[in-house]
Structure formats: structure tokens, C-alpha cells
């Protein structure tokens, strides 16, 4: 039934002639595998390098039907390849290994493998692998059709990769039902162009490469709509990209959700992130880290979150952008992002290259600055520990701020896991960073309310060595400060103690926030903390952020330590604090000095005083756009580049700041992930100072 007969392409005799790409570094195994596959009458291409495989796949999207890959390879982890292929090309991938440990198999599943075979592979097994191709095509189209209508269902949990869409369908009666009910029309109309089981070739639409830009737009759109409400159609409209179809968006969304779920799991395990969002000016922390592959997504959550757990970024750790939007406008932000915060789970397994950024923005209404730490932890796949819980605390202040913690994670290459956990490295949980600020000034001495709990999102990032090569962390922090509120000065002082090595070092005094992250093996995501200063106190906000940039290739821990002016903070950090970097919004004039930090490889800690006077455009992707109404939003973007070092750019907050003070703190906590699992507990601090003005003094 295919018209390919003329091309002498035996695709009509599927599975005969199915085009397989086999990847294995062991020449003996590869040779054998090739022979076996040919025996099954497949069309085989082999390569012994994962990178070559990726290139082959990228150059011609439609060249292959299926990929079989070994798990352990020197140039790239098999799981990483798996994810990349799944994200970029949406092809079924089968894993091969000698090792059949449950854990490994599980890892394969969570990363989206549609099958896991043990070596030595038998020909009988290979004879059946074509089913994965069919299944994926079949259910993928259906799924795409229904994806839009199934947002809600999906938000719960998206299981597996596209390949398991079928399972999802089957198992979820509701899903099925809804699909039938709602999507009949769509399905029909989709059917024409939809995948045809009989005609695999027709099923292939031109593959969309989710470039960094595209992904950024995608994430922005999703955040705008709210992860729960993000429907492919709307996302598509928002993105406004030509030649992008709803199906593309739908399938990408599905993967994204999966990714989020995975990292949220990890975060949950580790700690709970308490996001204190007070009325402090909203600062959005956006962290987005992009790696070469550049997919990042940001979720925006609006609303106040208290003790929200942030997702931890996957190990590969990308730093997301923290954008803090100060001001109330955040409320208008889609709150869906917040929901994400609730569960942070980090899949223990390191994430593969894909880095997904999740940006969670937690708006907080507080006069004080809201510190948001976006923990970005880069975690290497191998890091297990990253479970970071980030707590975002919001300093309560008179000002109504909403702090938004954007947690972005997700880079194709790297994953950021933000997690605060007992990990020695860093306790920052994935996304959130805590805000802390202790008003230097007299205003209120306490930065964090009485509770003075600081939640830090510490990012634990462990980067596995293989990762670095592919990973580039861009950290953009954008802090939006909205001060607008009455509160006068916020000073957030937060001392973050990095739990890295010692889990639970919390200083009650938030006078200084020091983030120390040191991870040897892990890459740390950089956390930038921004402290906001109240106008009264200081005109400029200095943020010292220590950025520890993880070095690609090497474990590097980035720790951002922020020092806050001494301020008597009552925050008690229970949890190991991860470094949170808080970008404080600019005081008075709300200028945020650009934070640029160049992170050297391996544990470089930068202390930068951030003087936000000018905003620099972060060279990184734009921060999330939140719908702020009149919120002043200052976004600081920090981009971390792993390879090249991390630097943070801060953008000047756009909004106006509260007269007097506002503080938007962005904490970007970079957690250093240790290779081991450590859990960092987030420090919960209540920042609840209601009216107090936080003066941030840096």
C-alpha cells in the first residue's frame, strides 16, 4: 500500500527492511549484532560511537526507524543517548547490556527506552523488535491527537516515553474514554496525516528539531499557560512558530511532562522544598540552563507557595533561569507552575543529557524580598543523590512580592537537578532557591520573618563526567523584583550553609549567606542569589553569589554563596542549605547589576557583589515571561556556561521597585552534587516577616 514500491524500498514488507541504527563500542558485539539484524532482514547501519550515531540521526530525520544501543559506552552514556534520541528524534530506542540489574533496567525505562535486552542477544528477540516501531507510530499519533485534550490527565503522570503511550492508553481507561469522547474529530482529521500503521513512511512528518530557541519558546508558552493547562494548541499559538504542528508540540509536551515528573520525583525524595512566598515582591527566578542541545523549559508558577517542593533537576543539571518577578503581577502568573513545585522528585538516576529546565516561579507576596533560590543542580547522571528539595522561602515583608522561582531544568544535554538533600554537596533542591535576605538596615532585622527559615534550593548538580562535554549550563537568572510594595527595605540575609559536606549547616544568622559548594565529582549548579536591598538601606544591591560552576567534564561544584550583610536573621535553616543565590533586585531604582560570573572549572566560587545598576541582558534565553500585570519585574538572567564557565548576567528588573525597598532575591543555589546520594534538606525558613522590610545589604 505504500507508494514506495517503486523506490525499491522494502518498507511495504515491514518489518523487512526496517532501518535500524546499531550503536556499540565493542567491535565484537557490534559485528555480531549487525549480523543478527541482517539475518532478520533489517537494514542495518552501525557505528561504534554514540556521537556519530547522533549525527547520523540528526542529519536525516527520516533515515531510521529504530535505534539499538549499548548502555555502557566510553564517549557517551547510553542512557543519555537514549534520551536525546527520544527528545530530538522521537525514535524508539532499545537498550542492550550485559548487565540486567533491575536498577539499570529501571533506569532504561525512566529514560524512555522501549525495551531492554541482555547480551548476548538472541536472534529471536531481535526478530520482534519491529513491534516497537509500530507501536510507537500507532499510539503516537493517537496520543498526539488526544494530547491536547488530555492535559489534565497527563499532568498527573506521564509514564514512559512515547513508546509507552500505548500502554498508557490501555491502562488508563479514563484516558481512553476521554480520548474517544473528545477526540473523535481530531482523531479523524488527524488520521489523514496521521501515522499509518501500514505505511510507516507516511507517518513520518518532517522531524522537528527542538532547538534551544524553540524549546525556550515552548517552555515559555507552557509556563505562561501553566503546566496543567498547557494544551498543545495553545502552546502552538503562543509559540507562533511556522511549520510547527500541533502534533509536534503535543509529543514534545508529553516528553517534557515526563521529564518533569522524573525530576520532581527526585526532588521529593530528597527534601521538601518550602517555598515561602510571601508578599514580597515577586522575583522571578528563572534559571534556565541550556546546553548545547538547548532545551529548557520553564514553568512558571504563580501564587504563593509555601513549602513547595521544587523539582529537582535532573542530574545533568541545567541551570535554569531564575527570574523573579517582583510585584504582584505574579499572581497572574499561571499557577500551574506552582503545582510543579509540589513534587519534586528527582529520579535518582542521573539524567541523561537532556536537560530540562523547569522553572518554577513562585510568586510570593511579601514586601520583603522574596528570595527565590532556584536551585540548580547539575547532576550527573551518575549522581544519585541529587534529590534536592528546594524550599523557597519568601521573606515576608510588607511588600507584596511574589517570588517566583523558576525552576528550569532540562537541557538536552544536561540535566539539572536541583535538589537539596542531605547530599553533601548541596542541599539545594532543584529549583528553588531561597530567598533570603536580611535587611541590613535597620529595617527589620530579620530577614526572614521569625521563622527565619530559609529555604534554599540547592542545586545539586552532579555532573557525570561524560556529561560535561555535552552540557552547557546556562544559567540565567532573572530576578524580577517587584517591589512596588510598601515595604521598605528588605534585606535578605541568608546564609546558606551548604550542606554539601555537612548536611545541616544552617546558620541561624543570616548575616551571611555563604554558599559553599564544593563538590568534587559533582557539578554544581550555580546558584545565584540575589539579595535585594531595600532602598533605605542601600541603593544597590549587592549580591554575592558564589557561583560554582560545574565544569563540564569534571565535576565541579558550583556554589553560590551569598553573603548578605549581616543581618540578624532568624532564619533557621534546618536543612542543609544549598547554596542559593539570590539575586537581589535592585534597590530603589531597581537596577540590577549584572552578575557575571565566570566559573572556572571545578569548584570555582565566585563571590560577586552584585550591584545591580544596570541590567545586562543575559545572553541566555529570555526569561520566562510571566504575565505580570503591573508587577515590576526584574529579571536577572544568569547564564551559566559550563564549558566556558559560568557567568551570570543579570538583567535589570523591569519593574519598578517598591519604593523603599524591595528585595527580590534570587537564590540560585548551585548545589554541588556529590556523586553519592545525599539528601539535602532544605532549610525551611519562614520568612515570614510580614511587614518587615528587608533590607538587603550585600
Amino acid at each position: 500500500m505504500t507508494v514506495e514500491a517503486e523506490i525499491d524500498d522494502p518498507r511495504d514488507q515491514f518489518p523487512i527492511g526496517m532501518r535500524v541504527l546499531a550503536v556499540d563500542d565493542d567491535p565484537t558485539c557490534l559485528f555480531l549484532l549487525e549480523k543478527l539484524l541482517r539475518r532478520c532482514q533489517y537494514h542495518v547501519t552501525t557505528t561504534n560511537q554514540a556521537i556519530k550515531a547522533l549525527n547520523l540521526l540528526r542529519e536525516n530525520k527520516d533515515q531510521f526507524d529504530l535505534v539499538i544501543s549499548d548502555v555502557q559506552m566510553p564517549d557517551m552514556d547510553g542512557f543519555k543517548l537514549l534520551e536525546l534520541v527520544g527528545l530530538e528524534m522521537d525514535l524508539p530506542v532499545i537498550m542492550l547490556s550485559i548487565n540486567g540489574d533491575t536498577k539499570l533496567v529501571m533506569k532504561g525505562i525512566t529514560h524512555g527506552a522501549c525495551d531492554y535486552l541482555l547480551k548476548p542477544v538472541r536472534i529471536e528477540e531481535l526478530k520482534n523488535i519491529w513491534q516497537h516501531v509500530i507501536r510507537r507510530k500507532k499510539f503516537d499519533s493517537k496520543d498526539r491527537n488526544n494530547c491536547g485534550n488530555q492535559e489534565k490527565l497527563h499532568s498527573g503522570s506521564v509514564e514512559g516515553g512515547p513508546g509507552s503511550a500505548g500502554t498508557l492508553l490501555d491502562q488508563n481507561g479514563k484516558l481512553n474514554k476521554k480520548r474517544k469522547d473528545q477526540d473523535e474529530e481530531e482523531f479523524e482529521e488527524h488520521d489523514e496525516n496521521g501515522p499509518d500503521n501500514d505505511d510507516p513512511s507516511n507517518q513520518k512528518k518532517p522531524r522537528v528539531v527542538w532547538s534551544v530557541d524553540l524549546h525556550r519558546k515552548f517552555v515559555a508558552a507552557v509556563n505562561q499557560l501553566g503546566i496543567d493547562k498547557a494544551v498543545p494548541k495553545k502552546i502552538l499559538d503562543l509559540m507562533n512558530v511556522e511549520k510547527l504542528t500541533r502534533e509536534n508540540v503535543a509529543s514534545h509536551l508529553q516528553k517534557y511532562r515526563l521529564y518533569l515528573k522524573r525530576i520532581s520525583c527526585v526532588a521529593n525524595q530528597q527534601a521538601n522544598m518550602v517555598a515561602a512566598l510571601g508578599g514580597t515582591d515577586a522575583s522571578f527566578l528563572q534559571m534556565s540552563s541550556l546546553n548545547g542541545a538547548g532545551n529548557f523549559q520553564t514553568l512558571n508558577g504563580s501564587g504563593q507557595f509555601h513549602n513547595t517542593a521544587f523539582r529537582s533537576f535532573p542530574p545533568s543539571g541545567m541551570l535554569g533561569r531564575l527570574s523573579t518577578s517582583a510585584g504582584l503581577g505574579i499572581h497572574s502568573l499561571p499557577s500551574s507552575g506552582m503545582t510543579q513545585l509540589g513534587h519534586s522528585q528527582n529520579s535518582g538516576s542521573s539524567t541523561i543529557d537532556q536537560v530540562n529546565f523547569q522553572q518554577v516561579i513562585i510568586p510570593g507576596n511579601h514586601n520583603g524580598s522574596v528570595l527565590q533560590g532556584v536551585p540548580m543542580s547539575l547532576q550527573l547522571d551518575q549522581l544519585q543523590h541529587n534529590k534536592s528539595v528546594t524550599r523557597v522561602r519568601e521573606l515576608s515583608t510588607a511588600v507584596d512580592n511574589t517570588t517566583v522561582f523558576p525552576i528550569s531544568s532540562g537541557l538536552p544535554d544536561a540535566r539539572m537537578t536541583i535538589g537539596s538533600s542531605s547530599n553533601p554537596l548541596l542541599g539545594v533542591t532543584n529549583n528553588t532557591l531561597m530567598l533570603e535576605g536580611a535587611p541590613q538596615g535597620a529595617q527589620t532585622g530579620k530577614v526572614f520573618g521569625n521563622h527565619s527559615s530559609v529555604s534554599f534550593a540547592s542545586l545539586n548538580s552532579g555532573l557525570s563526567s561524560p556529561l560535561p562535554d555535552h552540557r552547557r549550563l546556562n544559567d540565567n537568572w532573572s530576578t524580577a523584583q517587584s517591589s512596588g510594595i510598601q515595604s521598605n527595605s528588605f534585606s535578605l540575609n541568608d546564609t546558606f550553609k551548604q550542606a554539601t559536606m555537612q548536611p545541616s549547616n544552617l546558620r541561624d544568622n543570616m548575616s551571611t549567606m555563604a554558599l559553599q559548594i564544593g563538590c568534587d565529582p559533582c557539578n554544581v549548579s550555580s546558584v545565584s542569589s540575589i539579595s535585594t536591598q531595600s532602598q533605605d538601606l542601600r541603593a544597590d544591591v549587592q549580591c554575592r553569589t558564589n557561583l560554582i560552576s560545574s565544569n563540564a567534564g569534571q565535576v565541579s561544584n558550583n556554589a553560590l554563596a551569598q553573603r548578605w550583610d549581616d543581618h540578624d536573621q532568624d532564619g533557621s535553616y534546618h536543612s542543609n542549605v544549598m547554596c542559593s543565590s539570590i539575586n537581589s533586585m535592585i534597590p530603589v531604582n531597581g537596577t540590577v547589576g549584572p552578575l557575571g560570573q565566570h566559573l572556572g572549572p571545578k569548584n570555582t566560587i565566585f563571590h560577586t557583589n552584585m550591584d545591580f545598576n544596570s541590567m545586562e541582558q543575559s545572553n541566555f534565553i529570555d526569561p520566562l515571561y510571566m504575565n505580570h500585570n503591573e508587577v515590576n519585574k526584574s529579571t536577572m538572567e544568569t547564564s551559566l556556561k559550563l564549558k566556558q564557565g559560568l557567568f551570570m548576567d543579570q538583567r535589570k528588573p523591569q519593574g519598578s521597585f517598591i519604593s523603599g525597598n524591595f528585595g527580590s532575591l534570587e537564590d540560585i543555589v548551585s548545589a554541588m552534587a556529590k556523586q553519592e546520594q545525599d539528601k539535602l534538606k532544605l532549610i525551611e525558613g519562614d520568612f515570614g516577616c510580614d511587614p518587615y522590610s528587608l533590607g538587603t545589604c550585600m
Binding site: 563500542d25 555480531l32 547480551k119
Partner: protein
């Protein structure tokens, strides 16, 4: 006549491989893949295996000379080694690999690691010799024979 004899002999030798535990069923799989298009498939694979694994052995030897031992690295090498050995069905070699990895994981038995590796090399060499002889004889006996060798 002579051919028949040779073939019989070959068959016996082959059978002894299995009986003595040098090779396992995977080898049979290899043989089954051999066909007219690839009449020497098995030999090719085995040759490839020996070429590649000799490099590995070198690496492992070097790694074993270090002090202290980098068990992680050794484990990685061994993982690869095991993978290829499994692919051709080298049973004894595979067993030694497993043993070696156990010791690596324990992390504190350098002596045992060394000894196991010596043992492994020995088995490896023995198998190599045997297989070489086997293939040589097989070639003499006539290529067609390999395809329809009787399976026990």
C-alpha cells in the same frame, strides 16, 4: 575419506569445547549465523574478538601495575571484556571475568584480582590456541562443512 575423517575429527574437537566448558551455546548461535554469504563468519568474529580483547588485556595489565589499584577502572575494562567474551561464547573466560569483577567490587583484594587475572589470561590463551587450530582444520576440511556441521 580423509575429508570425512577430518570432519569427524573436527566434530569431536568441537564437541569437546562444549563438554569441557570452553564454549557455550552462544557459539552455536554464531555458527547458525554462518551461511553462504558469510562462510567464515564464526572465524571472523573470533578473530575480531581476539584482536580487540588483546588491547583490553594490555590495558588491564597496565592498570594492575598501578598502586593502589583503580578498581573502578578495572571494573570497566572487565565489563567490556566480559561483554565481548559473552558474545562469542567463551565460557571459561567469561567466568573468570565475573570472578574478577567480584573482587574488584570488594575492593580490597588486590592479590586475588591479580591471580584471577592471570588465570583469565591463561584461559584466554588456551581458548585462542584451540580455536585457531580448530579453524585451521575446518578450512582444510572444506568450507561447506562448517555450515552443516552436526549439532549435538
Amino acid at each position: 575419506m580423509e575429508r570425512n575423517q577430518m570432519r569427524r575429527q573436527l566434530a569431536l574437537i568441537r564437541q569437546s569445547f562444549f563438554d569441557q566448558g570452553f564454549l557455550d551455546e552462544q557459539f552455536i548461535q554464531l555458527e547458525e549465523l554462518q551461511d553462504d554469504a558469510n562462510p567464515n563468519f564464526v572465524e571472523e568474529v573470533v578473530t575480531l574478538y581476539y584482536r580487540d580483547s588483546s588491547r583490553l588485556i594490555l590495558n588491564i595489565d597496565q592498570a594492575l601495575e598501578r598502586n593502589p589499584l583503580d578498581f573502578n577502572k578495572l571494573d570497566n575494562y572487565m565489563h567490556q571484556f566480559k561483554g565481548s567474551s559473552t558474545s562469542i561464547g567463551a565460557k571459561k573466560v567469561k567466568a573468570e571475568c565475573t570472578q574478577f569483577r567480584e573482587y574488584c567490587k570488594a575492593g580490597n583484594s588486590e592479590g586475588r584480582c591479580m591471580r584471577t587475572f592471570q588465570q583469565l589470561k591463561k584461559e584466554y590463551a588456551i581458548l585462542k590456541r584451540k580455536l585457531e587450530a580448530y579453524f585451521q582444520q575446518a578450512r582444510q576440511a572444506g568450507p561447506l562443512e562448517t555450515a552443516c556441521r552436526s549439532r549435538n
